[in-house]
């Protein structure tokens, strides 16, 4: 099975600034991938590279086994929802569906009409007068009705209120369940992704800080609390991600595939948010370059 996204030493430069660099990633197909990272981490750049809106400055990227944006065939295979869900303000909802039908040979008109009706959108209403949530839903409908194999969503819920956010993600999960389509969606809020994603990619300052299956990541990371000691003394099969100390106590976040044997430690499971924050701090403090960070995950 081909990967959803395969990047090798991928880089994108704007002038002298590298928005994304040395990015090596292999995302399996059919997953719901959360792309997390602080603002300006390169999430949008990576997604634009994935749908062919941008050309790499270095390295290569393949989506579903093809270089993105090279022709109608590759364009047809991925659906994209850009940040802020742009739509033609002066065209109506119905005209947007018409556009989808004209511009996409695999267009699923029945689905689009049904979804728009379910959402309670008026076909004659202009897109410019829709609320943010409605616009996002319309854009999602367009992206899905294109019948892609991979949906790429750039901060789809960032501008939505909590209710619209929940509805949007619900729609998304229904589609994933019904059509088995792969999804890559980005957000700077972990909470948005925790509920829907089964694969996680963390970008910090243009580099991949962490990538992997969410369950595997959670299973292999532990928070250890015990009496104060030197964190360098942990067993060799454990990798220290983060440590903090009080006068009497040491708290560690470690990654290991083996069990925690030392009875001095109290091991507790970690949440996705814990992981993301720990790796973000680690990347920010420059303790681990991207390459070894990745090795840790594997």
């Amino acid at each position: 099975m081909t990967s959803a996204l395969e990047a090798v030493s991928l880089g994108k430069r704007y002038g002298h600034h590298w928005a994304l660099r040395a990015c090596t990633l292999s995302i399996p197909a059919g997953r719901v991938v959360g792309l997390v990272g602080p603002n300006g981490a390169g999430k949008t750049t990576l997604l634009h590279l994935a749908v062919g809106l941008l050309e790499p400055s270095a390295g290569t990227i393949e989506v579903l086994g093809d270089r993105p944006g090279t022709g109608p065939a590759t364009l047809a295979r991925s659906g994209f929802l850009a940040q802020d869900s742009p739509g033609y303000a002066r065209l109506t909802v119905g005209q947007h569906l018409q556009m989808g039908a004209w511009l996409n040979p695999r267009w699923d008109g029945g689905f689009a009409t049904r979804r728009v009706a379910d959402l309670g959108l008026d076909l004659r209403q202009r897109a410019g007068t829709l609320s943010g949530g409605q616009r996002a839903q319309l854009a999602l409908t367009l992206a899905i009705a294109k019948r892609p194999e991979l949906l790429v969503l750039d901060e789809p819920v960032a501008s939505l209120d909590p209710l619209a956010r929940r509805e949007f993600l619900q729609t998304l999960m229904e589609v994933v369940a019904a059509h088995g389509v792969g999804v890559i969606l980005s957000s700077h809020l972990v909470a948005d992704l925790e509920r829907v994603c089964d694969y996680l990619v963390l970008l910090v300052a243009g580099r991949v800080a962490l990538a992997g299956d969410v369950e595997e990541l959670l299973a292999s990371h532990h928070r250890l609390v015990g009496p104060r000691r030197d964190p360098a003394a942990i067993p060799s099969d454990q990798v220290l991600i983060e440590s903090s100390h009080t006068e009497k106590q040491t708290t560690l976040l470690v990654r290991t595939d083996g069990p925690i044997l030392d009875p001095a430690w109290t091991a507790t499971p970690v949440t996705v948010e814990d992981l993301v924050l720990a790796y973000m701090r680690r990347a920010r403090d420059g303790e681990a370059p991207a390459a070894s960070g990745l090795a840790v995950v594997r």
Binding site: G69, P72, Q83, Y88, Q95, Q98, M99, L103
Partner: protein, 349 residues
């Protein structure tokens, strides 16, 4: 893609076609009236034709200026409102990310949009040109020079529109913002037109030359400027309805003369004529003056030594020049369109 491009361009195209239809009706009604006037006043006039012509023109004055203005600003408006926003508005609103991720390549997207709206621009400008040229045909016949309205009549207007549209599209693609792109488009278009009028059009066709005796010149004076010595100044124009490009005063040996050489001639041959050094016609009204006979003698003498060589474009080269200028602007439009295509497919994200 064509259907979608048409969906986006439909409103603006139909609106301008409706406006053109309104203009056409106005032109038809007033045009028929005007041609009746032409037939009754000017066409068969035997005497007092200047008066008849004046009366005829006074009937058309305001409308005629409106039509001239429309012919002048029409292409500019097309460049500003159709060309500049074509890509810039998409980039500004972010809708290019929607359009370019449908199952249509960027290449096809930009070619279709440029082709469709570009064709609409040429058609609309062509219809405008046709209306204005048809409506003004009587007035243009009466007015002395067809070349004076060269850029407001005929097929060149369609070429201007094609150029304005394509250059607007290119500028919009590069600047990425609609309003600054509109302003820049207007500036570039206006500059190109002015530059063409001043520096290009006069050199497009090789002119005819004719030799005119000073005695038949439109103007022939002894004059001095800034207190320098008295010299000979003369002007003549080409045949009716031709475009006079230049006048040269040539001596009997066939060389173009400078003002200083002619001053030397005056000083040598007619030392008696002097200040005030105005045209003999001015003296005629003031009665016979001592210098007048001397001036007359000098004029005769000067006309033996000097003559005027006039370079002009004959009246029958008008349509050749129109086609040539159309070709130039269509070529410029193609260059701008290719630039727009290149920028969209290579440089934009």
């Amino acid at each position: 893609m064509t259907r979608f491009a048409w969906l986006q361009a439909r409103t603006q195209t139909l609106t301008s076609l409706a406006l053109l239809a309104g203009l056409g009706v106005l032109a038809a009604i007033t045009g028929v009236h005007l041609s009746h006037l032409y037939t009754s006043l000017v066409a068969h006039c035997q005497s007092g034709c200047d008066l008849a012509t004046g009366r005829y023109l006074s009937h058309a004055g305001f409308l005629s200026q409106c039509f001239d203005l429309l012919a002048r600003v029409g292409p500019a408006l097309i460049g500003i409102f159709w060309g500049a926003p074509l890509v810039a508005r998409e980039l500004e609103a972010g809708t290019h990310r929607l359009a370019w991720t449908q199952t249509v390549t960027r290449r096809r997207w930009v070619v279709t949009k440029l082709g469709l709206v570009g064709a609409a621009s040429v058609v609309v400008a062509g219809l405008l040109a046709l209306t204005v040229t048809w409506w003004s045909r009587g007035i243009d016949k009466v007015n002395t020079n067809q070349y004076a309205l060269f850029d407001r009549r005929g097929i060149v207007i369609a070429g201007y529109a094609a150029f304005a549209f394509a250059v607007g599209a290119f500028i919009g693609t590069v600047i990425r913002r609609t309003v600054p792109a509109m302003a820049t488009t207007l500036a570039v278009y206006a500059f190109t037109l002015v530059a063409t009028t001043a520096w290009v059009r006069p050199h497009l066709l090789s002119p005819a030359t004719s030799t005119v005796s000073l005695l038949h010149a439109d103007q022939f004076d002894f004059a001095s400027s800034n207190g320098s010595a008295l010299t000979i100044e003369a002007q003549a124009s080409g045949p009716p309805n031709s475009w006079t490009l230049s006048n040269r005063l040539v001596n009997s040996a066939g060389h173009t003369t400078t003002a200083a050489e002619r001053a030397a001639f005056v000083h040598q041959n007619c030392p008696t004529i002097g200040i005030p050094a105005s045209a003999p016609s001015a003296h005629a009204n003031a009665g016979p003056l001592p210098g007048n006979t001397a001036a007359e003698a000098c004029r005769t003498q000067a006309s033996k030594e000097f003559h005027l060589v006039v370079r002009y474009l004959p009246a029958d080269r008008y349509w050749t020049l129109q086609w040539l200028e159309l070709g130039i602007f269509v070529s410029l439009a193609l260059v701008a369109a290719v630039g727009c295509y290149w920028w969209v497919t290579r440089r934009t994200s």
